[in-house]
């Protein structure tokens, strides 16, 4: 082991003591897409003791452009991402205890997995899951690291319960239609840049170098050569329902979640967002057309043809996903566009 991690223990802020700490820690990775596969590889190479990685999707051809654990063979075999990730991670470092879960990271699932976890890394693609991670983090006093990217733009922020503001302080609500990689595209370097930031923060937290943990909110645009550090000293909201004086952890409440139901006797899942929306159907239809989908519409709904599914969206944000009975898959399709 000493030889394997020699270049990391040579780095004075880690050293041999830090390496022992990394070895004793357990990280929960939510998502095994672009950020998830990159962050997981980074931590497994760094010698993390235990990694739990959760993902609900399968490896698809369009993932290969930026999701670094996967190969053409994984696409051909239609492997679940969690399973494909586990296979590669074990080949990289057999000393790490890896638990791969093919599952939707619902609040219930997060609560089930949180026991013994030292750090949560956000590698999800939607704000609903992030808000649930944020509440779990506050409730169980476990740090988490927000990361996201779209196009050549990305951002990261380390959230330490009791110390920093939380995501709910910053956003107040789940923004519907946050840009996702499925609507704005994404380039590999932007993914790598977010991973670099999340990974450095993770190592600081794992070796307990709390003074080194970044307190600012980083955002950057690699194509436009921008890099910005936003100070967060005024951002903490004492009345925040997630991290404030009287926390209620609203995003662990099923009332505030996207609801999915298999429609009786049909190969269709209905999806209902937590709050009534007022979608502009014409805009939605045009955006989908720009993305290359075949779209039909009328004043009441928009219908989008996909490979094996059809998605019908209504003005109040409700959607029907035809061609599946799998709740997780249906949520995945919906949140690709309404992340």
């Amino acid at each position: 082991m000493s030889e394997r991690y020699s270049r990391q223990t040579l780095f004075p802020p880690i050293g041999k003591g830090g390496q022992e700490k990394i070895r004793s820690k357990h990280v929960l990775m939510i998502g095994a897409g672009a950020l998830g596969s990159g962050n997981a590889e980074l931590l497994v190479r760094a010698g993390i003791g235990r990694l739990t990685i959760v993902d609900r999707d399968y490896v698809e051809a369009s993932n290969l452009q930026r999701q670094q654990l996967y190969t053409e063979e994984d696409v051909a075999e239609k492997l679940p991402k969690a399973a494909a990730a586990e296979k590669r991670l074990k080949a990289i470092n057999s000393e790490v205890a890896i638990t791969a879960m093919i599952a939707d990271a619902t609040p219930e699932k997060l609560a089930e997995l949180i026991d013994g976890v030292d750090l949560i890394i956000d590698a999800t693609d939607n704000f609903e899951t992030r808000m649930a991670i944020n509440d779990i983090s506050q409730k169980f006093r476990i740090p988490w690291i927000y990361g996201a990217c779209v196009g050549s733009f990305g951002m990261s922020f380390s959230i330490i319960p009791g110390k920093t503001p939380c995501l709910n302080c910053l956003l107040k609500t789940v923004p519907l239609q946050g840009m996702t990689c499925d609507t704005g595209g994404i380039i590999g370097p932007a993914v790598q840049m977010v991973i670099a930031h999340q990974g450095a923060e993770a190592l600081k937290i794992l070796v307990e170098d709390w003074d080194a943990v970044r307190t600012s909110f980083v955002s950057f645009d690699l194509w436009r050569n921008q890099y910005t550090s936003m100070k967060m000293s005024k951002a903490k909201d004492p009345g925040c329902l997630s991290c404030g004086e009287h926390p209620e952890y609203p995003y662990l409440d099923v009332e505030n979640m996207t609801k999915t139901t298999v429609l009786c006797g049909r190969d269709t899942v209905q999806i209902r967002p937590p709050k009534q929306q007022q979608l502009n159907l014409q805009d939605t239809a045009e955006k989908m057309k720009d993305l290359g989908y075949q779209v039909k519409g009328n004043p009441y709904l928009v219908s989008v043809e996909m490979d094996d599914n059809r998605m019908v969206i209504f003005e109040d944000g409700r959607a029907l996903i035809h061609g599946t009975k799998d709740l997780a898959q249906a949520r995945s399709i919906y949140q690709r566009f309404f992340g």
């Binding site: 998830g36 693609d125 779209v150 946050g178 840009m179 909110f217 921008q226 936003m230």
Partner: protein, 77 residues
């Protein structure tokens, strides 16, 4: 005068990376509404706001010479 910076897709919607605008005395919320109308930006209300590289709430009042950046949270990953 105040400099307003647009990040990520806000820049594409605004058609500019930055603009100069007179915003002293306005709250962040008021500025958001004004900018959203003037530059045809749809989702500015959910954007984060930095005044002189410091996160600021919607109630914060803008001073002359402040640089304001609108940073939209993104969800890709």
């Amino acid at each position: 005068m105040n400099k307003i910076l647009f990040f990520a897709h806000l820049r594409d919607e605004a058609g500019h990376e930055s603009v100069e605008i007179e915003a002293a005395g306005k709250t962040v919320a008021e500025l958001k509404q004004m900018v959203a109308e003037k530059y045809g930006i749809q989702k500015l209300d959910t954007s984060m706001t930095a005044i002189n590289e410091e996160f600021s709430s919607n109630d914060e009042v803008i001073k002359a010479g402040d640089t304001i950046a609108f940073i939209p949270p993104v969800s890709g990953g």
